[in-house]
Each structure stands twice: as C-alpha cells, then as structure tokens.
Amino acid sequence: MKKGTAIVGVGATPYYFRGKSAPQTLYELIGKAILAAVGDAGLKITDVDGLAFYASGFEPGLITEMLGISELNFASTVSAQGGGSAGVLDLAAMAIETGRAETVVCIGACQQSSRRYGLALANLVATPDGIWSRAAGLEGPGQALALIARRHMHVYGTRREAFAEVVMSSRLNASTRPGAIRRQPLTLDEYMATPMLADPLCRLDFCLETDGAVAFVVTSGERSRDLAQRPVYIAASAHCGSREWGRSFFWLNMPDAVFTSAGGELVARRLYAQAGIAPTDIDVALIYDHFSPLVILQLEDYGFCPRGEGGSFVESGAIRRTGSIPVNPHGGHLSEAYVIGMTHIREAVEQLRGQAVNQIAGAQFALVTGGPAPIPMSGAILRN
C-alpha cells in the first residue's frame, strides 16, 4: 500500500446556489479556497510549488500572480471533466513521488452564472461525431444518463424506489450539515409526487447547480507528519479508462454489460489492487452523485453488491449511516452542493481526521469516486 503522499490541508469557500457567489469572481473563489487550504495545513503560500487541475483546469500563471506563489515546479490537468475529479489526487501523488514537486495544491471550482453544466450537450460546440445527441433532442448529461438508468431498470428490475432512497439518504445526511443547500428531509411520497424531468429521472434525481471552490494541499507522507493536521494518506489513486466505456453518455455504444454500469470497474480494480484491500474494508464511500441512479451503478462497479442488485441493496438501507457502507454522509451533490466532485474528497478528509459532521465511528478507509463520464474516469482510496 502506498503511504508516500498525504492530504494535509483542505480549504473551501461557502457553497452558493447557482449565480449567488457574485460579485466574487471565479478566480477569487479559487484564491480563497487555496489560501484556506494552505492555512489549514500550517504552510505558507510560498511553500506551494505545484498545481493540479481537472475539468479543463484554470490558468496557472494567473493563480501564481494573484496569490504570490513564487515558483511552480509542476502544473498539470487531468484530461477529463467530472470523470477526473479524484484524478487530481493521482496527478499530485505522481508529481510528489517522482520528486517533481513538494507541495501540490489540487483545485476544483465552478461558477455557473455563465456556463450551466446541466446543459452541457446543448452548450457544447456541435461536432460532426456528436451531433446525433442534439438531433435526438438531448440537452444534458442527465437526459442521456436517463437512457442508462431505464435500461438498468429493464434488465435488472431496478425500481424508482431505489433512486428515491439514494436521494432520501442524501437529504437526511445534509440535514445536519451546516452550509448544505438542501437540508429538508424528504419522504417517499414527496419524491414520487415530484415532476419528471427526464423519465425515469425526476427533478430530485438531478444534483444541485451551485458555485464554490475547494482546494487540497498534498505533500509527501514524510513531510506530512510535521504539519498542523492529522495526515490523510493517499493509499491508492487512479485515472484510467477502457474503450468499452469511451465517451460514455456522448457515445452510448458500450457493450450490453457495460451499458448498464457506471463505467468504473477498471478504476475499482486498480484502486483495490494498489491499496491491497477489498470493498469490505471500505468504511465510508464518497460516491459522485450527479444523478441518483448512477450511485447505484457505482456501488455495483466498486463491488459493494453484485451486478444488478444495486437497487435492492440501497432499498435495504445499506447506504445509510447505519448501513453496511455509508455513502455521502455530507449529503453529496444531490443535497449539499456541487463542486464537480471536490466536496466528496473534502468529506473523505474530514471523516479520516475524525472531524466530520456526520462522523462514521472509527473510519480508516474512504473511497472517493470521480463522475461517471467520458474517460479517463478516476478514484482514490484514502486512509488515516
């Protein structure tokens, strides 16, 4: 198991409903998150010598100018959108393990006043090989992933009650989390009465649209022991992908067995092999929840239940805080906030420091997944 690198600092802005972070600028949000993370670690901004991004990244020159970082030895971006969120930890770990950099800050941020990710298919520049999505009337990832959700229902008998349970569990967790956007507990009747947006997905199956920035400081395991916080080690990290998943919801020609998955099996195999542990060793799972059915499919990908049984698994109460694998005790993207996967890494760190609002007692291993999306997909296993 790797113990060579650790997350030693976490910083975040408040989470805002879409557009409500104005008049702060996007780079202002990023700067505030970085300064908070560096402060949390007990370091100075001039200690930072590396930046790791995903989702098209941000401008390293502007960030170093703006904050007074003196020198960068590493600046790189995972070549994926939401699929790459946990991949920033992989980039940071690689930079540190190879000696390229000593203190790498990983950054995720979004401000959706000008660009709404939910309309990604409609907003994307139409390309010759992707125009069929638009010609069919698909406007966003949620509508395209509804095709996968319906197929999973058809093949395995998964019920809307299972989607509802993912949302209800998430809402219950967020109800005690300060700063979460949706904190009102939800009943099954209320879920079932909510209008459909992309049948079989109703409005509540779609994640929030929020603004915010989150940053992490990663350094070597050796150095981490002298800093302000209890180190959270990167036990395994991966960003990778198979042709069978490819462009995911932009392609939709995965083989049958892969079509009804969340495309995470390869990442899962890499992570468990690297960490030398099994799914049963994971104490808390931070599962990227842009759309509730994809949580169920990822639970199958990551081996928490057999393929096709994810629906009955969640309906049994398994993902509640009292269940066999607590999922998203912070409320996730469905209820807390959406910062493209970063809030899940933050929660993993808080759980492993023993500081989480909804602490899972004795948590030692946390799984974090990147979003089911075009490859590379990503994930990480963290430990204390």
Binding site: L147, R150, H154
Partner: protein
C-alpha cells in the same frame, strides 16, 4: 386517448459534417438510412470515423442496417410548450440495429403514443428537416 410524443424542433439545427459523416447525410438526403461497415472485417461501427476500431482499416462501405428497435429511451416534458395547452413530451431514444452488430444511434421517437414506447419495440423510419440536412426520426408502426 393517451399522450403522443412530439418531434424535437430541428428547424434551427445546423448539422456539422466532415469527410467521415458526410456519406451518412448524403444518404439521408435521399431518404435512405445507411450505416458505416468496415470493408475489411465487415464489422459495423458508430459514429462514422476514419478507422475501424476492430481492424484499423480505413475502407468503409455504407450499408442498410435492417430492423431498428428501441434499446432505451427517456421522456422529456418540454417546459417551453410552444403555446400548446398540454405539456409537450419529447422522446429521445437509443435505437439499436440488431442485424448491424447491435450498433445504436440516438434519434427521436415521434408521433407515438407514450404507452406504446417500450424497450424492444420495433420502429418505423421517418424523416425530419434540419437547416442543411434530413435527420432520421422513428415512430411505432400501426
């Protein structure tokens, strides 16, 4: 009478084309649906592109794919309404061609009673006009 799926408004949609997708749109302009098949190994691929992913050949035939069936679909209530009394419901679907190695293309299911739209249902081919191309759409045969 149950609700019927409406067509997406393609009147303003400009279809971008390149050397590898042009034959698809040339065929639809003649109201023919043809899909790309590798001349070397006879495997279909989607989307049309410069290489066969199975044997990497660049030689391509354009072939009628046979029966079309619904592989999956979603129903989207159109909030914009177009001034209609009833909510408009569009049905983007993934259409499978079992005789063409099971490749799937995205297309709208139009003029179909929602109650009859099911995974596995056989489809009838139709057409809708975009700005610069004719787009395949599908309906449920009566």
């Amino acid at each position: 009478m149950s609700a019927v799926s409406t067509a997406p408004d393609l009147g303003a949609l400009e279809i971008p084309m390149d050397a590898w997708t042009q034959p698809f749109w040339d065929a639809t302009a003649e109201k023919q649906l043809l899909l790309p098949r590798c001349s070397a190994c006879s495997r279909f691929r989607w989307p049309p592109g410069p290489f066969c992913p199975h044997c990497q050949s660049q030689l391509t035939d354009w072939v009628q794919p046979g029966v079309a069936r619904i592989y999956s679909f979603t129903i989207i209530s159109d909030q914009r309404g177009h001034g209609a009394d009833q909510p408009q419901q569009r049905v983007p679907a993934l259409v499978e061609f079992p005789a063409a190695d099971g490749i799937r293309i995205l297309a709208a299911i139009v003029d179909a009673p929602l109650a009859e739209i099911r995974i596995g249902a056989e489809l009838k081919l139709g057409w809708s006009q975009a700005v610069n191309a004719v787009v395949p759409v599908f309906s449920i045969p009566r």
